[in-house]
Subunit: 284 residues, 4 copies
């Protein structure tokens, strides 16, 4: 099987988009494997994810470049593109908790995802030796008062040097500054340990215990300048009862956080997620 191109398009709806896209691919000798679309009738915005096998006579990188030009010039829409052979470079930021860290690394090692983990950034050194055991460079930058700007500068420099295309906050306990987010140059996915918008902010399991909810949740979202307010990619919940104290919720929550974060990362890496007006369109 030849490599395939995956394109995510969106823009104002107009007659014949589907036909034009499909015809373009067909004329290049491509074979559509999947195509899914969504029309937001409130905003009249058209979204599409289309994946096609490139003809053996065409060079995949060239085909994807040509497609981008076609979409921009003839459809006047925005497009993001990937190849089935891509292996994006990913960095993981952690603090002390290690459950999401292990989960992500083991998935990459098991071959679940086409991605390369290039290293771990942390404000603590707790996970240094396990990172290095996995063969992953560990970059420790302690975050002391007044040093945030300096530390973030070094993080940005490192991320750029590595050519990182996705940053995952795997229970990283620092807020990223607007300046960091402007400079990072790639999407940042965070896992929040509550069912947002419930219990935004600190110590969500303690808040959940206090309110006496019967389900706890976790939420993976793209990070924006508004803390815990970015576009939600995935959420899930688990049942709890009066028997569960805050410590039990924290332990139960770990499994939830692992599953929700890994589901969000998988969808992102498979080019299934479009964010638009602070929400996501997820093509499953």
């Amino acid at each position: 099987m030849n490599p395939s191109v995956i394109a995510l398009l969106h823009g104002p709806d107009q007659p014949g988009i589907v036909a034009k896209v499909a015809t373009w691919i067909h004329q290049c000798g491509g074979n559509v494997l999947h195509a899914d679309q969504h029309l937001d009738r409130q905003g009249n915005v058209f979204f599409q994810r289309v994946e096609w096998e490139v003809s053996a006579s065409r060079e995949p990188k060239q085909e994807s470049d040509d497609f981008v030009s076609f979409v921009r010039d003839e459809l006047d829409m925005r497009v993001r593109i990937g190849l089935s052979t891509d292996r994006p470079k990913v960095a993981v930021m952690v603090s002390k908790a290690d459950h999401c860290f292990h989960d992500l690394v083991l998935r990459v090692r098991a071959g679940e995802w086409n991605a390369d983990f290039v290293g771990i950034l942390s404000n603590h050194d707790d996970l240094q030796s396990v990172s290095e055991n996995y063969g992953l460079p560990f970059y420790h930058l302690p975050m002391t008062e007044g040093k945030k700007q300096d530390v973030e500068g070094k993080q940005i420099t490192w991320l750029r040097e590595q050519g990182v295309e996705l940053v995952i906050l795997a229970r990283y306990m620092q807020v990223l500054s607007p300046s960091f987010l402007k400079q990072v140059g790639c999407p940042v996915i965070n896992i929040h340990h509550s069912f947002l918008p419930s219990f935004a902010g600190a110590r969500p399991y303690h808040q959940a215990y206090q309110r006496g909810v019967k389900l706890i949740g976790a939420t993976a979202h793209y990070v924006t300048e508004d803390l815990d307010e970015g576009p939600i990619i995935e959420q899930d919940v688990a049942r709890v009862s009066h028997r569960h104290g805050p410590k039990d919720l924290i332990e139960k929550g770990r499994d939830l956080e692992k599953l929700v974060l890994s589901t969000a990362v998988r969808r992102h890496l498979q080019n299934r997620v479009l964010d638009y007006q602070n929400k996501t369109v997820v093509f499953d």
Copy 2:
């Protein structure tokens, strides 16, 4: 099988409660069918639900009265009591939506619950004919501006005359006043169409759509003076996607509301719910 007594106890923990309760029952010739307990270590409060079959030689009502005296006098705890043969009187308050209404009534008719529905209160007359088709008295009191105190007074009078022991708000779209809640003299269970504390207040499905959540929820709770802040009895969620507009969420939510409200009512009627410090202990 003889009738059984179900007791819900709570109070400060003290040595030997379990032994004293079990011994009392044994000495009366009772046979414990279920016993479940919970110790809230933070507040050092002991909770128990115990159900026992009454000896054929004892009168069940007398046994339950004696047990109440025993718990109050010798254990200095609070107790609520029921008999397996009880059929509490229930009133349902509705506005225009009928899905929870039909669901509740059909469950009683199917014999799922030991309860008698004595009538329907409403601020609209939309459900009058279906109520009467079910053989249920329908009491229509339009709620016009400035008449709330008057209408609530009539509702309270009617509820008392009927001897109502549980009020269910089945998508009743009026806020009950503190005065109503003080006078009603029995628990009131409400269904809120969101996963509280997310999206309290009005139009929760529109709020959920706006935020782009990936799960919608419903919450059944005891009504207190603080709107949408009462002790939660049950919650559940359903998965949604970018394809679902507000209208779809409302339709999908109906099934959720029916299930969550009926689960909460079932647990209440089976004497499985203790509320304490704005949370519930639910003995499943």
Copy 3:
């Protein structure tokens, strides 16, 4: 908004299907609202559901007829077609249990589905008066030994006279003969009260209790000659424990059966289900 056409296509994969279909629609002035497709790589079979708004200048029925001709003649594929304005005629077959019956009828009355229920067929008369209260003709044909062929003949005659386009078995406790299935001339959806293929056959809740499973399930499927072996449309499960005896499983299962059957019927009525080689493709 104009009426839309919904088409379900399938057949051997070939280059350019997506482009040809989209171009045909575009040339008729149609506007694609949804399009979803699936390629079964093992069998090299292509499946598509496409829905488009018909141009105001075209007559929807004519457009759908023309599309059928186009697909058959130019793509050599099989196609099933519906209009957004269709209201298919549905018959429900019941025995004594009424939970699915009420659930289905109330959904139609609430306007959840575009369908007309034309009547109820039953081998018992238990649900006669509730059917008639809903304004639904009730056709009672007792099934006594040796009369099956005769009864089924009358059922077929009635279904044809009514022009029924979908039969729902809402806990109908008789096996339909191969002869009935050959003659009925429309799909038949059944709800089986277990998580098939576990516990096929009779008394599945008793079988589940005996095996000590921790989840019970329900399965909605198209009926074929092989009992409980037809293509599965939808399944779901609910958690149970050692505390639940067979009677509890039956009661808990009722909610599951209602939800699973109604989900399957909704999908079928929205033309989202293709069956192929004893499995279904469900376009959500």
Copy 4:
């Protein structure tokens, strides 16, 4: 807080068991932390899990020995006992798949469970180096034709030398012989990669794909001589669609297997599971 004793009792129901147990504990100065019971009315069998804090003046091991004598002599029931300070010795048997293996080991290292993993047994050497990286002895015994009896003999010898109290089959792809099970002298928990009793035997994900189910499952159970027929401890499911081929089911199933197996092991280690007549009573 002093150590606590956890006792699991079962036997024929008789008047006053609950009172006798509670009184015995109270007289020893113990404080009941949890007590849960179940009465199987069909078999008239009483089950109880009771946990109590031992008086500071008593030695926990002595208290538990005395309790065992009391239950046997005065109640004539069977009892299993544990201390909150116990750290049972656990062995894990694996073949080539590593997802459950990593999951279990990381949970122990994170302090989720009170248990000591004493080593890994395998018929392949694939997981040797990762085991040793975790500091876990790895005992590799290749299983070639005709050597089963010999290999199992060595496994039994090793398990006994280590004093193993629980064996976990973490996707161990060999059937244990009746002789092994007779000699192992401790419970064996297995994870089966289907929703039993559906798809027992080999290649369950391929069977599930073939049948077109809409949910896949996993089942953790105690191993008995009847393959895949032992008492079920935990089950769970995940939603799949026509888009998922056998390979996708296998990948999706990995998360399910990890969760279901770890839940079962946690419950077992917390002395929450009683098996009786090929079913389990799980006190949550």
